[in-house]
Amino acid sequence: MSRLRGLILTTTILVVFATAAYAQRGADGELRMLYWQAPSVLNPFLSGGTKDIHAAAFVIEPLARYDDNANMVPALAAEIPTVENGGVAADLKSVTWKLRKGVTWSDGTPFTAADVAFTAAYCMHPDGGCNAAPRFENVAAVEAVDDHTVRISFKVAMPFPYGPFVGSTCPVIQKKQFEGCLGAKAPECTAQNFGPIGTGAFKVKEFRPNDVVRYEMNERYRNPDQPAFASVLVKGGGDAVSAARAVLETGEFDYAWNLQVEPEILAAMEKAGKGKVVSAFGTLVERLIVQLTNPDPALGDKRSTYQDGKNPHPFLSDPAVRRALSLAIDRNILVEAGYGQAGRVTCNILPAPPAYASTANDWCKTQDVAAANKLLDEAGWVRGSDGIRARDGVRLSILYQTSTNSVRQGTQALIKQMWRQIGVETELKNISASVFFGSDPASPDTYQKFYADIQMYANQFNGTDPQAYMQGWLCKEIPGPDNQWIGNNMPRYCDAEYEKLAAELAKTAGIEKRAAIAKRLNDMLMDYGALIPLVHRGEVGAHALSLGGVRINAWDALQWNINEWHRRK
């Protein structure tokens, strides 16, 4: 690519003339990034997903963010409020943030506490359709105490009060710009949603939804020698494989985001010597969900619904079967075939942060077909002439569904063969992601309806606190016709003990105590076998060898340290 060569040439010339290139704002020319899912809006509160949050993170910032080791670091805040420094009230019902002084928006106006209070009002408006609304769930009020102090008070005691304004999913927007965009007017503010004014290292220059975003450096950025890049191009569209190719093989781009492709493809491309594949691990776990209620179509309305335990699954209600299914899986092969360096074997639904990861379930790390077969034999499941086990006329025949994605279909095929070894028959089904993860109550193919015996997908939680995540398996979270199939408890697990422990977690303060409870919750789910964790998945990307400063981060947006990115000399 002669364009790129020209670019590199210009960059080198700039470097030669710059006395201290590393410390010179805008000295490194253009940064070119590929997002195969293109950003569609730059207001993360109205966004369609991670890609939009990333695209906005160049520009707007939260009060605090997570670094690549899951530590909270101040961004627009001067420090992280804690009980010790008096920022968090002793009764855990309010938190006071001290803001960094001397920060200005890219239009030159000063950043103040009023902007923070306005952002809360914007997102908490009932008609706004703000997707960060759950962060403000227990918030009673957000007030500007003075220009550089904000107090957030909660309706209940919050042992972990860092929901609002922490992480790139909940940044601060400018009051002056968005004042006219409250509530139902939010979507009509196209100019604002396409070009938010921010405090970050870059500002939006041009935005073509679902195609290209161009940024240029923010001259008013608070660190005078940053950013190193004068401009950024984020190009969208295409697929992950060709995105990897454009960075690793042709060198047209500097960074490719989210490369969920078979590892050998990336490894082969990496050999071209132009770039490097990087990954980071957060809390994302690829898991099997076990259907504990009966999904038989003959049941009509009662299909896949929880009836106080009176509608059990014909064979998955047997603990021996659930345990055997997990034992029969060789997770190392799943990782090797589908994830490579972007995956690790896990036996927990809560795999991180390290303090929260249990070791009680490590039996699942090694495949044990013999033990699985023995369990099933003892439980009375006898192999028929076709090799498939049955008991009292019930065959171990599983319908296994997931979303369409070549890695997932590979995993499905591998697991089908592993289960075949213990006399379990599997029919595979894949559903387009827009249908599977959709929530059309009329569609039979959603993950909430779960009209199958086993389903597979990946899930995680925001930030580092698992409370809301672990509360997903409460009885009231079971989806069903009564709540329009809205709920997080896909396996339809319901256990009084679990409820009690989860309620305790909501009241407990202190990392160690909270971690101990969260681990016990995880172990209860694992012992019961309501979910079968497969792979702890990392975020994976590729960057050009000439790109420096990248610290891929699974706890926050990739752009959390974009101000430090530079061209390697």
Binding site: M1, R3, A38, G49, T50, G129, G238, T250, V435
Partner: protein, 337 residues
């Protein structure tokens, strides 16, 4: 003929209304969900609130009538305002058709996508016609010659190998190995001088080749078979017997009469240059109307899908009318009244 055209145009209005209604109903029935692409960390209750804020809580007929009003009344008014710089009524309060995924007016999105779609897909179509018609005619005149056999082979392979395959092969060969052409299309590139024109040509070579080959394959088969059919007609024998030169026979008599299927295929193909070529746009990241449409379908973005589809329907109806008129021109014996 003009009475026929007038009647057809009049009939087109209810046809298009019916099409728009059926498409809207279809999209409403389809199980896609605008919140399906949000991260799973966003809880179901919030998703429900987002859906409500998009207006999905309203009954079906209200949403349909709203779309009709926004697209058929408000958008044309906006266009008039912009063209003449005047203000008609309450222009600030007039609601436009907004995409759910980007929250931007759909018409603006389409307008920003059209240049790349029309350049790449349009040019590839012209290339296809320029290759296919001569090749088809020549193949037919020299049926079973080496040229014909080779042409048959190339076109059939060209059609049976899908564009997702040819596109990737071209990228691997010409971008990775040879480093001749960029693998990614830059939609923001502006042609201002000779050098930038060269850049534009270089980035268009591969997509135009992929699409052109595919379309040319199909078109040349129809041309060849139609010319073959006509070569044996009585009037050709008569013309030959009368001593008309072979070239004249082919160009004047045969070609004209052979064009009916060719016109049909082209008329069906031209509206698709607006709708874009989904797979080719995806492979080379051309991000035209096709990519807009596929993204909207996957994201359950009903207003965008509905609007793009409706404009597409208008083009289909229009071009099929043009084809019917052309039939009459090509073969005066065809009468509609």
């Amino acid at each position: 003929m003009s009475r026929y055209v007038a009647r057809r145009l009049l009939f087109a209005v209810p046809t298009l209304l019916v099409i728009s209604f059926i498409v809207f109903a279809l999209l409403d029935l389809a199980p896609s969900d605008p919140t399906a692409q949000l991260p799973l960390t966003i809880p179901p209750e919030t998703r429900q609130a987002i859906r409500e804020s998009l207006g999905l809580g309203q009954p079906f007929h209200i949403r349909y009538l709203k779309w009709l009003d926004q697209f058929l009344v408000n958008e044309p008014l906006n266009l008039l305002e912009r063209m003449w710089g005047i203000e008609i009524g309450d222009s600030a309060g007039r609601l436009r058709v907004r995409s759910w995924a980007t929250r931007a007016p759909v018409v603006d999105l389409i307008a920003s996508r059209l240049p790349q779609t029309l350049t790449v897909v349009g040019i590839s179509y012209i290339v296809a016609i320029l290759i296919a018609v001569p090749v088809g005619v020549y193949s037919a005149c020299r049926q079973y010659s080496i040229f014909d056999q080779a042409g048959t082979f190339v076109t059939m392979v060209g059609f049976s190998v899908p564009t997702f395959f040819t596109g990737t092969v071209l990228i691997v060969v010409f971008s990775v190995w040879l480093d001749w052409f960029p693998s990614i299309y830059d939609t923001t590139h502006r042609v201002t001088d000779l050098e930038s024109l060269l850049v534009q040509v270089r980035q268009m070579v591969m997509p135009v080749m992929v699409l052109g080959l595919f379309n040319a394959a199909q078109l040349s088969r129809f041309t060849r078979s139609s010319v073959l059919e006509n070569l044996n007609q009585d009037y050709v024998r008569t013309a030959r017997a009368k001593g008309v030169a072979e070239r004249g026979v082919i160009l004047v008599h045969v070609l004209r009469n052979s064009l009916i299927p060719v016109v049909t295929v082209i008329a069906l193909g031209l509206p698709t240059t607006f709708a874009g070529a989904i797979i080719t746009e995806q492979i080379f990241r051309i991000n035209g109307v096709g990519q807009l449409l596929i993204g909207a379908i996957e994201g359950g973005d009903i207003p965008t899908v509905q609007t793009v589809t409706f404009i597409f329907a208008v083009l289909i109806v229009a071009f099929n009318l043009v084809a019917d008129v052309l039939y009459g021109v090509l073969d005066p014996r065809i009468r509609y009244d």
